[in-house]
Point group: C2
Chain length 500, copies 2
């Protein structure tokens, strides 16, 4: 494809992308295809000879778009949003054009240096403590996902603890002690943490302990809960080394009690405390949420995904650490072919030592473009608009307390609801039969809503009961779609429960 062909193809792609976005509200939000739909339509081998773009492009509309789940659809209210925006797309274009594995500074200085600048911007925008700025001992690094950030911190935490426990030992004596220590290491998280934390412990190769949170605490991890767990683990002769705390849990957007956890951190300074704010951390762009960040400076790391709620396309996970040396100590290996004068001088940052993979994309560009195109005020507007939609939805639910109850929220635009078994009946969560009936009607209504294809929701389990999560927070979220979602929920719930 030469430059002229590219110009023509790119213009056609731009038109198709614009058309895709503008017609989204008119198509079902989920793919209406069965598993295995695609392969029968495509050849089993790559073509031997070149094909022109005019042959390739039509297959996108024919075969790909029908198989997409439309995360930018105004009826998409599932999981958490994964937003994108036009400035972000422009960032991907330049990133692909300037492609480089960018594993060290020399590989592409602009890639490293712009990342340092925009991560400092993000740090200040979210009112995170200064310890996370690049000027001191800490700094930010763009990771692919919040799950990758968790594994990265967990490995760094594991190595930090091992080094501490094995101080002064050498050779095989040290190796034996290392094995003994690793066998006793335990990572922890509240039982509402994302599955990335137990998976991270599997990858880091350590034990994992889920701390039971309580309904009366709003399923938040408390200082008391954490302290008791740490003591219990130590009582068994085991060694806690890492804790995931959460700002905005996946199920219900619960926020752990950071003030209390910061006190516990003082008692266990060697245990790494990570704040997983993958989704809800975005809200810190608004002053009214910034009180949540007050104690983050006591912790070792904080991560939020701009690709969830802040209009940067996947992937753009912003990880901040208090001491970058903790990452570098666990992750740096510099062989001869990666040594260069800038590296040796210590003047530059080599972000490969802050992450698991060696290579990295130029992701700072899209963050830069989005921050400038929207401005902080534009991002605040987006957050407040969608938080407002969550409140609108919750208000509608409250008006039908005969049919629904709110299990959690609205918090950070998420409302978690259940369908009530019989019109007007007030149940008792101690009554197992009633709870089972709540689960049944909630599940049936939920499945009927998703079968309809107009809106797309996910379910979750809260305190052992099934619940429906509703979150409308992508860039196309709209009041009329939230109202429509509520109408659909009412219609399907009434069908299941019976309107008597």
């Amino acid at each position: 494809m030469n430059a002229d062909e590219f110009r023509k193809a790119a213009h056609a792609a731009v038109e198709e992308i614009i058309h895709y976005n503008e017609t989204l509200p008119t198509v079902p939000v989920t793919a209406q295809i069965p598993p295995g739909y695609l392969s029968p339509h495509l050849p089993s081998t790559a073509p031997q000879h070149p094909q022109p773009w005019s042959t390739i492009q039509p297959d996108i509309a024919t075969h790909i778009i029908p198989g997409l789940t439309h995360w930018q659809h105004p009826g998409f209210m599932s999981w958490f949003p994964a937003t994108t925006s036009y400035p972000s797309l422009l960032g991907e274009m330049y990133s692909a054009a300037f492609t480089a594995p960018a594993f060290n500074w020399l590989c592409s200085p602009a890639c490293t240096e712009l990342e340092t600048v925009v991560m400092d911007w993000v740090c200040r925008m979210l009112a995170l403590p200064d310890v996370f700025l690049s000027g001191g001992e800490g700094g930010g690094v763009i990771q692919g996902s919040a799950s990758e950030a968790i594994v990265t911190c967990m490995v760094a935490a594991r190595e930090r603890m091992v080094v501490k426990e094995c101080k002064g030992l050498e050779g095989e004596e040290r190796e034996k002690k290392v094995a003994e220590v690793k066998g006793r290491l335990v990572a922890l998280g509240g039982d509402q943490v994302h599955s990335a934390t137990p998976k991270g412990a599997m990858i880091a190769g350590t034990r994992y302990h889920a701390i039971t949170t309580r309904r009366e605490d709003g399923f938040r991890l408390t200082g008391k809960g954490l302290r008791e767990a740490l003591k219990e683990i130590e009582g068994k002769g085991l060694l806690p080394y890492y804790v995931t705390t959460t700002m905005g849990s996946t199920g219900i957007c619960a926020v752990d009690v950071f003030e209390e956890i910061a006190e516990v951190k003082k008692e266990w300074p060697d245990v790494w405390i990570h704040v997983d704010a993958a989704y809800a951390g975005a809200a810190l762009v608004c002053e009214e949420y910034q009180h949540h960040a007050k104690f983050f400076g006591e912790f070792d790391s904080f991560d939020m995904n701009m690709h969830k709620w802040l209009l940067v396309n996947f992937d753009a996970s912003c990880l901040f650490v208090r001491k970058r040396q903790d990452l570098i100590s666990a992750m740096s290996i510099t062989p001869s072919y990666l040594l260069n004068p800038s590296h040796i001088s210590g003047l530059v940052t080599d972000y490969r030592d802050w992450q698991i993979p060696l290579g990295r994309r130029f992701r700072a560009l899209k963050i830069w473009f989005v921050l400038r195109s929207y401005g902080v005020s534009g991002l605040q507007k987006h957050i407040r608009h969608t938080v407002g939609l969550g409140e609108l939805f919750a208000g509608l639910v409250r008006e039908r307390s005969d049919l629904f109850r709110i299990v959690a929220g609205p918090a950070f635009a998420l409302t978690v609801i259940q369908v009530l078994p019989k019109k007007g009946e007030k149940g008792n969560d101690g009554d197992e039969a009633w709870v089972q009936e709540v689960n049944r009607v909630t599940k049936e209504a939920y499945e009927a809503v998703n079968r309809g294809g107009e809106i797309f929701l996910t379910s979750g389990v809260v305190g052992g009961q099934l619940a429906i999560r509703v979150v409308s927070a992508n860039a196309n979220a709209e009041e009329k779609w939230v109202k429509k979602a509520f109408e659909i929920l009412v219609k399907e719930a009434e069908k299941v429960v019976g309107t008597s």
Copy 2:
């Protein structure tokens, strides 16, 4: 940025990218800026208010492009190439528009299903054994980098070995045995493996052993070398669980002796053998290289990066495994909010269980576009063209055996050379003083070449001696640039050595 603004901005970006590519040969290949060049030119915080594209775009030319190392420059002959192409860029555009974290099938069925299709295409195109096709027990998955693929396989190998060794045990008894086994696990690789393998062992939390390769074996890992290392490790009461073998080592593009290693694998069937073909694996698109793949079916996994030599922009690392269950067993955690009917039915692939992070980008699009735009024949042409340039370069070097010697290659377009101390003098590698002089003149010439900025090379250490790596294999590689590189090398080498 609305649709009209995006159309205008995207067209401007397309023009800038075309201009960038077309003017590349006229600018220095490396950035002519000092460390820390960028931040003084940018504000310290994100702007409060939105900025139009007309304000943002000029900063790319002013502040970003001057800080790039130009991997597509025809004078770029460093490391290994990191290619891109226009069809690949189009793939990134659609991927950003269709953004989704795509952690399971339902997240975006097309993303999963196209990945299965194109990975089967790649498998067949490279003439890999059928065990790596999706139809059986194996399959391919797109990872971010060869280093990520290595960690992924290493963790899967570790867990497979732990499960085997701890069979029948439960509870705390099992935990103790797990710790004991993990303390004895050893990952291995030849001493020419990429640093990603020792780093992988650090992340997986196991010991690592580098097997010494020999100059007389061409620094290839042999069956004998591997067998002796495995026995030595077992003799110490330790437990080998994983080996990285290499097709195309970073330093000199050596190819391990796979036929012999396949024999060793029969003796140690539980030890995971991974083939890291990150760069050179691309050559398997040409029949004349496909004999290398003959024994890969005996091994557990194979990985090659389309983002190195096959015109897909970073990231597109193609990992194939013989038994996908090995990955899934080590990496699957399915909480309630990720369960859905398609998942439960077992009808679909959830690639999140084949990798470390949860989320994933729609990278299959760019691979699909590139394979179709170039066709297999177009990729073969690119490989053969650049392999030919390597031979051309080596031929030029041979004509000046008074000034240079070839340490390795040409292999897969890479030639590794040294500058000889005195015109015409034949040295002796057993003579330490002579070797030091080789290192000195090679280093001085190498540094002078890179200071010039016309071409960009990397150095490496081969058998304890410094050498210069020359590889011209991006899409803009050209005969005249290879000749120019040789002329520059001659000029600088003569300056250092003296023409007497």
